[in-house]
Amino acid sequence: MRGLLYVLTAVCVVALGFWAYQENYRTQGAIREVRSLNARIGAAHARLNVLSAEWAYLNRPDRLRELADANFDRLGLLPLTPEAFGHPQDIAMPLPPIPELGPIMDPVEISAGQRGPNGEEPL
């Protein structure tokens, strides 16, 4: 009985050692991955930073003004002035649709110089 207990304990120790070994290597792998991810995030940040700086540089008001002047023929852009504001009433709204006429239910025939079906005089 006691021998079996010893064997079981020894097997347990070996199994735990194996598991700890595995965990150790998995942790180290995860740390390595985090480090490389951090480096990539850092690089992405740096790139983002350059792009936003470039965006700001390309959108600087002086340059936009020059571009608007240079392309005035095509775009016709002008500085925003009070005249650019309108009133909702000034907008040309589409006209309301004309209500459709139904089929003629009770036609009155009018004709000149002919008698009606019952022989009466035309109006």
Binding site: V34, L37, N38, I41, G42, H45, A46, N49, V50, S52, A53, W55, A56, Y57, N59, R60, P61, D62, R65, P79, L80, T81, P82, A84, F85
Partner: protein, 594 residues
């Protein structure tokens, strides 16, 4: 362990036989037993001491090794843990109120040389001089072949230049990473931003420190890693600022002025939406301060904050508002305006003769110095001083710029009656345009004191009350009438109901007295008058315009048309839609009765 008996029978019997004393045997044995116990105790104590000593040794060794390692290794940038922001900029960005970038960082490199490692110094010197035209090949060669071990060549180089230096292929030419402060908009808002430069420099990094403006004022905040790269949000609107600088530059050229400044400020929050001072500079390449001459001629001088000027008639509204607040006059009270008014050896004159009497409203509309002086006399010097103090004229502005404390108003040494009168029409007290913007905002927003700020605010400042709601409305109505039928008629912008006051002040000579042909022309206004949103201050330094047969320097001909164009351009950008003016926009309220 076998315990040795104290009186072993064999020995005792033998001792008795030999006539000895058995007690001596017992004593001897007791001594031996005690010695044995002592030796055991000592051995145990020594063992413990040894263990303790070992632990101490290990502990000190660990600490020593760690200290040595820390001292010996290069400092490494702290790499934040995975849940934080892994790489943050050394210095936070600065953005405008809509998030557009005003200042940011760019990674670049510095170039340095270690002459001992150089293979062909002569070739390297010639090639470097070719890449960087401002370097001299002979001087470089001298440095490379001398006994210097380290040499900075350029603080910042572009990627193309870096590639060209790589192509030289000399192992003694090395690069150090740098963060460079970049102002992508060039000279726009240059005075507000200030500029940055390098502080302590090492091979692997360099401190970027602010040298002026908000960069310097918020230096500690911008460099604080605890912000995690959060940007500093200013109250400036980049689009409005750019439009303002364009209009101002045009106006300055047209009016032949040597300098100009303008401020647009939110009357309720005190936020400066735009503030410009011309001439300006490029903060990417900030000029050095002048070493001689007048600092106010330098482009880095901020006229809006640092420049203190006698601002002229724009001050009249303060005297009138105070008199109404005190119940001394109302808008219709008649004031004696016969002139010239003599006070001791001083004479106060008006631009024209306005007849014997004017109502208080017309004193403002016609801008009568005599009328304002008489109103000021009713108020008295101590009360005037107190009122101007409550509007912020007695101390520098508290705007978030490092230059703000230098804009100290110049006050009369003795607030005598003559000072009282001259200050009432804007002479004898010098203040910056920003002071004026603050005071106009406080007076016209309904009467709550506001303090100018460059940082974006979330709600109105509920400052202490300066004047009552009614007085504020009456003052707005008077300023509106200055535009509809007074000296600032060019300020009319259809739809925006501008109210404002002109001010033309002769410039003081450095030697004393005043120039007759140099003025500071100012327009201070508010729009829309019935529901004030923004205060605009525009000031031209030494303007003149040749119109209708004469050289005109008064603000009505110079500052006012520029201000009108400024409002026409910027008001739509700030989201104000023009309104069709009502026939009677100016509800004059009686504020006091006698």
């Amino acid at each position: 362990m076998i315990r040795r008996p104290l009186r072993p029978l064999a020995r005792v019997l033998r001792a008795r036989d030999e006539g000895g004393n058995p007690d001596a045997i017992a004593a001897e044995n007791l001594r031996l037993r005690h010695e044995e116990m002592r030796d055991r105790a000592r051995a145990r104590a020594e063992g413990r001491l040894l263990v303790l000593g070992f632990f101490f040794f290990v502990a000190f060794l660990t600490i020593g090794v760690r200290m040595g390692a820390l001292a010996a290794t290069e400092a490494e940038e702290p790499r934040a843990v995975a849940n934080g922001n892994p790489i943050i900029n050394q210095r936070s960005d600065i953005v405008d109120r809509n998030g557009r970038v005003l200042a940011t960082n760019l990674d670049t490199h510095a170039l340095y040389a270690q002459p001992q490692q150089m293979i062909d110094p002569a070739h390297a010197a010639v090639e470097l001089a070719r890449i960087f035209p401002e370097l001299d090949a002979e001087e470089l060669l001298e440095d490379f072949t001398g006994n210097r071990r380290f040499l900075w060549i350029r603080r910042q180089i572009s990627p193309e230049q870096m590639q060209q230096v790589h192509d030289i292929g000399d192992p003694g030419l090395l690069f150090g990473p740098r963060e460079m402060r970049l102002y992508p908009n060039g000279p726009i808002a240059s005075h507000i931003l200030g500029g940055a430069s390098y502080g302590r420099e090492g091979v692997d990094s360099a401190e970027v420190i602010g040298v002026a403006g908000v960069e310097r004022y918020f230096d500690a905040w911008l460099r604080d890693p605890a912000n995690e790269g959060q940007a500093l949000e200013l109250s400036i609107d980049l689009t409005v600022q750019a439009a303002m600088e364009e209009v101002l530059a045009g106006g300055m050229t047209l009016m032949e002025a040597k300098g100009a400044t303008a401020i647009i400020m939110d009357v309720h929050t005190g936020e400066i939406v735009a503030m410009a001072s011309l001439p300006d500079f490029d903060p990417n390449d900030r000029p050095r301060p002048l070493t001689e001459g007048d600092q106010s001629d330098s482009p880095i001088f901020n006229r809006a904050v640092q420049g203190v000027y006698e601002l002229g008639s724009v001050f009249k509204i303060f005297a009138v508002a105070q008199a109404m607040e005190l119940g001394l006059v109302n808008a219709q009270t008649l004031i004696d305006t016969r002139g010239p008014m003599t006070w001791g050896r001083f004479r106060i004159r008006d631009f024209h003769d306005y007849g014997p009497q004017l109502t208080v409203t017309d004193v403002i509309v016609e801008s009568s110095n005599i009328g304002t002086s008489r109103i000021a006399l009713m108020i008295g010097a101590p009360r005037q001083r107190e009122f101007l103090g409550s509007l912020g004229f007695l101390e520098p502005t508290q705007v978030e710029m490092v230059e703000a404390p230098t804009g100290q108003p110049l006050l009369p040494q003795q607030w005598s009656e003559i000072s009282l009168m001259t200050i009432s029409y804007g002479h004898g007290l010098s203040a910056s345009p920003l002071h004026l913007a603050q005071a106009y905002a406080s007076l016209l927003n309904g009467g709550h004191r506001v303090r100018a700020t460059l940082v974006r605010q979330d709600g109105p400042q509920e400052g202490e009350r300066v004047v009552s709601e009614e007085v504020s409305a009456a003052a707005r109505s008077m300023l509106r009438q200055v535009v509809t039928r007074g000296t600032a008629s060019f300020a009319e912008v259809p739809g925006y109901e501008v109210g404002g006051k002109t001010g033309t002040a002769d410039k003081p000579r450095p030697t004393g007295g005043y120039y007759t042909d140099r003025t500071i022309s100012t327009f201070a206004g508010v729009f829309p008058a019935h529901d004030p949103q923004y205060v605009v201050i525009l000031s031209l330094d030494e303007p003149q315009q040749f119109v209708a047969g004469e050289n005109r320097r008064t603000a009505g001909w110079t500052a006012v048309p520029v201000a009108a164009e400024l409002i026409r351009r910027t008001a739509p950008l700030m989201g104000l839609r023009p309104e069709i003016a009502t026939l009677d926009p100016t509800g004059v309220t009686q504020t006091a009765s006698h």
